[in-house]
Subunit: 228 residues, 2 copies
C-alpha cells in the first residue's frame, strides 16, 4: 500500500452497521479519522456529497475514493489491507458464498423483521414478528453449527464476515431485552448462538468499538418515546 | 479444479436472475445440467431441500454443495473457475466495491420500484413509480459513464458483474415497452445506457442464454391478465 493513507469514516455512534466498518478497520489495524454525523439534525455536506443516492452512513473515504454500504465496506477493507490482520472473508469460494448468503439473510430478512416487530403498535403483529425472529435464530443456530465446525466464531478461531454482520446487531438485541424484560436470544433454544454472542461481545476488537448496551438501551427508550 | 465436476442449475426459463447464473457459467465455459422448475405448480423436492429458507431459484449445486442467490452465485462462479474465461468482477478492490454497490442499488431499489410501478393499479402510483425508475436510470447512466471509461461495458471490454446484474433485467424492460408502447430506456436521456443495452443483448454469450423479448412479452401479458 501507499505510505500515506487517508482513511475517513463517516458514521453515528449508535449505528450497528457503522460498527461493522469500525470492527473491520480495527481487525486490519488501519488508522482512520472518524466523523460523527447528526442524522436527526442536518447531515454534513461531506455525507451528502459522498452518498447522494442513499445519504446514509457508514461512508468510508479512502484516499479520496468513496465506498458505501456496510458489508461492501467490510469486503473492501478485507481486500485492500489483505496483508494486515486476519482474513475477514474465508478463502474458499464455497465458504465465502455461505458467509455472503447468511449475511444477506440477516440484513434483508431477519433484522428487518426484528425492527418491524419492535416498532409496530399492533400486539398481534408484534407477537407474530417476534415468532419469526425466533425461527430465524433457529436457522442461524443451524448455520452456525455447520459453518463454525466447533470453533468460537462463524469465521473459525477469529471473527469474520458473518460474525461482524450478525454480531453488529447484538447490542440492539440485548438493549431491547433489558428495556422489555424479555428474552430474545434464548440459551435453551439457541445454545451455540448464545455462547457465540458472549464471545463476540467480549472480543477485544469488538469491545472497544461497539457502544455499551445500557447506553443503547437509553438511546432506544428515548427514540421510541419520541416516535409515539 | 477436480477433473469430474458435477454442476447443476435449478431455474425457470423466464427468470432474469437465473439468466445471471447462466451467463456467468457460459463466460467461464462451465458445462452444467439445467433443471427447469415449475414455480406456479409444485416446486421440486431438490429445490425445497436445497433452498429451504427462500425456496427460490436460481440454485447452483456444485459437487453436491449448494450456492444460493443470483449475485452470490455469480461471485462463486467467478472465484471457482477463476482460471477460465474473463474475470467477472474487476480486480481492484475499489472497482469491485463500485460494482457491488451499483448492483445492490439495482436489486434493492431500482428494480423493485420498476416492478411495483408496473403492477400497481393506481395510476398515480404508476406515474410516480416510473418517474423514480427514470431518475434511477439517470443515476445508472452517470455510473456507467464513470465506470466504463469509454468502453462498451461496465466491466470494460467484456461483460462483468454489473453488466450481468442490470443486463439481466433488459429483456423484461424491453418486453414491457412492447406491451405498453412506451419508452423506458430513452436514447435521448440515457444515451450511454441505450447503446450499452444493445451491445449487451447482442453479445454472443448473452444472446444464447436470455429469452426472446417477444416470448417474455407474451408470458408477461399472460401473467398480468391472470393476476387481475
Amino acid at each position: 500500500m501507499a505510505e500515506k493513507e487517508e482513511v475517513n469514516l463517516l458514521g453515528t455512534w449508535y449505528s450497528p452497521v457503522v460498527a461493522r466498518a469500525k470492527i473491520a478497520l480495527r481487525l486490519k489495524s488501519v488508522d482512520y479519522d472518524y466523523f460523527e454525523e447528526d442524522l436527526f439534525g442536518s447531515k454534513s455536506e461531506l455525507l451528502l456529497k459522498s452518498n447522494p443516492v442513499h445519504k446514509m452512513v457508514p461512508v468510508l473515504i479512502h484516499n479520496g475514493k468513496t465506498i458505501l454500504e456496510s458489508l461492501n465496506i467490510v469486503e473492501y477493507i478485507d481486500e485492500t489491507w489483505n496483508a494486515s490482520g486476519p482474513s475477514i472473508l474465508p478463502s474458499h469460494p464455497y465458504d465465502r458464498a455461505q458467509a455472503r448468503f447468511w449475511s444477506a439473510y440477516v440484513d434483508d430478512k431477519w433484522f428487518p423483521t426484528f425492527i418491524a416487530a419492535t416498532l409496530t403498535t399492533s400486539e398481534d403483529a408484534k407477537v407474530n414478528g417476534m415468532k419469526e425472529v425466533g425461527e430465524g435464530l433457529l436457522l442461524l443456530e443451524d448455520a452456525f453449527a455447520s459453518i463454525s465446525k466447533g470453533k468460537s466464531f462463524f469465521g473459525g478461531e477469529t471473527i469474520g464476515f458473518m460474525d461482524i454482520c450478525l454480531g453488529s446487531f447484538l447490542v440492539i438485541l440485548k438493549a431491547r431485552e433489558r428495556l422489555n424484560g424479555d428474552t430474545i436470544l434464548d440459551e435453551s433454544k439457541t445454545p451455540f448462538l448464545f455462547k457465540w454472542a458472549d464471545e463476540f461481545l467480549s472480543d477485544d476488537t469488538v469491545k472497544i468499538v461497539v457502544p455499551e448496551i445500557d447506553k443503547i438501551a437509553k438511546f432506544e427508550a428515548k427514540t421510541q418515546s419520541s416516535d409515539s
